[in-house]
């Protein structure tokens, strides 16, 4: 993995000493920190071929190439990113390869921070652009760069809108350093910063944020950068026909070295009451795109068990066809800390 530029050096909110992004405790003063979690392959994961590694007739030396293929049979071997579940208490997410893709090109990165204004939940979700080189590296690099920036700035009490714009720029730079205008690993981008008073959303492309609520206020908080949505805006396509349009998945903005500027959208949403923020890729919304329909699938379970509810939404998309990679992050609003230990699982 290419080194990710650090835009906001992390430092301990208690003593100000520098921190590593994954630290759970401040090495200087010992303060417990809320860590961040990224859907990269799990620590200690070692790839092996599902077929050749169990076939005694193949020599043990037939290894896995740097690019992740079995050196004997050529199969793309599991990377550990096929199915990843992340749970930070305040929010949780599940990403899955789906049924039709050789690899998971989605990535997610979650973080929480404790600020004077209360706890903050942070989610970044990216969907690698299939038509660009190394889309799986692209999504991970973008999500990782952005979440580090968002976490660092949240710990410093920066305004979420400004922090979000800084974060999308650092994600854009991470992708720029991964390629060139001719060979540009690319990804969609969406971030959500869930504070006690508002949800701040920033996006480029067609990954979405929804506000799920059992009241009548359930709504989508993002507008896709897609040909279909542009046609709706121009009155050339009816909203109801978007899902059937062949243009629905042709995106008009993305992050990558072939784009000079990230051109992000930013929105601030003040929820009228309790609800759940859903951040997802098109692998989910392909099968249920209305906020009310998604609410029916996720609530009330997501209030008490965001991870279980995210898993249920992923299962729903898989049962519906699983044609694309699926990523679902759920964060109850307002964020309230329970005594929960952070954990991470992968299978």
């Amino acid at each position: 993995m290419t080194a990710i530029p650090m835009d906001a050096a992390l430092s301990c909110p208690a003593c100000g000493e520098p921190l590593e992004a994954g630290d759970s405790f401040c090495e200087a003063c010992g303060k417990e920190l809320a860590p961040l979690a990224i859907s990269s392959n799990p620590p200690g994961f070692s790839p092996k071929c599902p077929v050749c590694s169990v076939d005694p007739s193949v020599s043990a030396s037939a290894g896995i190439s740097q690019e992740g293929y079995c050196e004997s049979c050529g199969r793309k071997v599991p990377t550990g990113r096929e199915h990843v579940e992340l749970d930070l208490g305040l929010l949780a997410g599940v990403t899955d390869r789906g049924l039709r893709h050789a690899r998971n090109e989605d990535a997610m990165a979650l973080a929480t921070a404790d600020t004077p204004g209360g706890p903050v939940a942070i989610a970044v979700v990216c969907d690698g652009v299939s038509t660009s080189p190394r889309p799986d590296d692209a999504s991970l690099a973008a999500a990782q760069a952005a979440v580090r920036t968002l976490l660092g700035l949240a710990r410093h009490g920066q305004d979420p809108a400004e922090a979000s714009l800084t974060a999308v720029r650092s994600a854009h730079r991470a992708l720029a350093s991964l390629g060139s205008p001719r060979q540009a690993p690319s990804a969609t981008y969406v971030s959500a910063v869930i504070g006690s008073d508002a949800v701040t959303v920033c996006w480029v492309g067609d990954s979405r944020v929804y506000w799920l609520s059992t009241g009548s206020d359930a709504t989508r908080l993002t507008t896709d950068d897609s040909l279909a949505e542009e046609m709706v805006a121009q009155g050339a396509l009816a909203e109801a026909d978007v899902m059937a349009s062949p243009q629905v998945h042709v995106i008009t903005r993305w992050l990558g070295a072939d784009r000079a500027e990230p051109q992000p959208h930013i929105a601030r949403f003040e929820p009228p009451g309790p609800g759940v923020v859903l951040v997802c890729t098109d692998g989910l919304w392909n099968y249920r795109s209305e906020a009310a329909g998604l609410t029916a699938l996720a609530l009330p379970a997501a209030f008490a068990d965001p991870l279980g509810a995210a898993d249920a939404l992923v299962t729903f998309a898989l049962d519906a066809g699983g044609a694309d990679n699926i990523t679902v992050v759920l964060a109850p609003f307002p964020p309230v800390r329970a005594e929960t230990s952070s954990r991470r699982t992968a299978s």
């Binding site: 049979c73 050529g74 039709r100 969907d127 299939s130 038509t131 190394r134 998945h249 042709v250 694309d324």
Partner: protein, 458 residues
Amino acid sequence: MTESGFTVDVDQNPYLPEGGRDVSAIVTVTSAADAAGLSASSDSPTGAEIIIIDCSGSMDYPRTKIAEARAATAAAVDEVRDGVWFAVIAGTDEAKPVFPADGTMAVADAAARAAAKRAVAGLRAKGGTAIGQWLELARETFESYPAKLRHAILLTDGQNQHESPEQLAAAVRECEGVFSCDCRGVGTDWEVSELRMISTALLGTVDIVPDPSGLKADFAAMMESAMGKQVADVALRVWTPAEGAAVKFVKQVAPAVEDLTGRRIPSGEQTGDYPTGAWGPGESRDYHIGVEVAPGEIGQERLAARVSLVAHSSSGTEVLGKGLVRAEWTDDEALSTKINPRVAHYTGQAELAAAIQEGLEARRQGDDETATEKLGRAVALAHKSGNESTAKLLAKVVDVIDVETGTVRLKKQVEDADEMALDTRSTKTVRAKKATAPPRDGQIGHPGGSDGGMSERA
């Protein structure tokens, strides 16, 4: 550019339908424009050049032929850089060293070049033609010197009359891998297929110089290009999966069609090497590679081939670059039925070359019907692919009635030189540019999805 100064790009449609086995890709190899950037090995390789000049009796008819050949050889000698080993051989029904006269090689400097030109000025046309003998002497001369970049220029004006085709073929086989050879036929009394056999085996070019006065510029250009080569013995190393996989073909498709399939040299249990010869700065060549793989399940991805560019040298084998040819099985027909535009383009260019060669052969056999059909097909293909230089050459052999449908009439009177020019240059292709970025698509199941398969894509 990578550290080696070479890049390897792969362009393909990786998607296969259920049960699909055939994967096709265009592999583009490009060397750095900057000579300093090309560093296959730390020891800069020494070059060796031999000019083989036909001195058969026919070179005297017209008299200008031998005179122009002498001037062309002198011009080529002038291009030989200081420090490069070189020699000149005169070919008749036997082969004789001209310079140095004792059959050794000289190290180029001003004095050696002047001495070589004096020796060349004394060349007289007398005797027959036995090209195999000429190549034999060149091989023996080259092999006495440990030069890495060995290159010859061979000029003839006639057919190989004083030895059997088997003798020539055997001599060519002996020379394969020892040196590369650019072949030129002057006038119209030589055999295109004979020289093409030599140039193909020896990884060189073949062309006609109809008028002897054109030799000088051509020789100087060939030698200049040879002097620019910096990396010797470069091969495409193709890895394929262990079971159920096979390389079906490896063809150079730009700048000209050369089938390398039969040139495979096994280099490991799952790899074979295909020679590409020597490379200079700022070169770019396209290769069309066809691989068969064992079918996978829907959604599975497999590496169908890894194409590495390798340079062999005394210090071992160095990998200069690599690209991946992938296979991914899908039930989405919109993806699996799509033909990559560059694969389609070069398939058409190979068909164009074959149609010309078959059409000209039919014409020589007096089969006008087949000749009209094949050359007509060639006219349509050249037009469709924008291969204007080939279209121009075709128009000297046939009257074009409708370029779209390829309706043509054979010309009654065709200059021998025009026919031979069409034949020798039939393999020249026009470059297929990489398509501009396709519509971006976050999801793969849409027609906007691309052909994927870019370099190192994994």
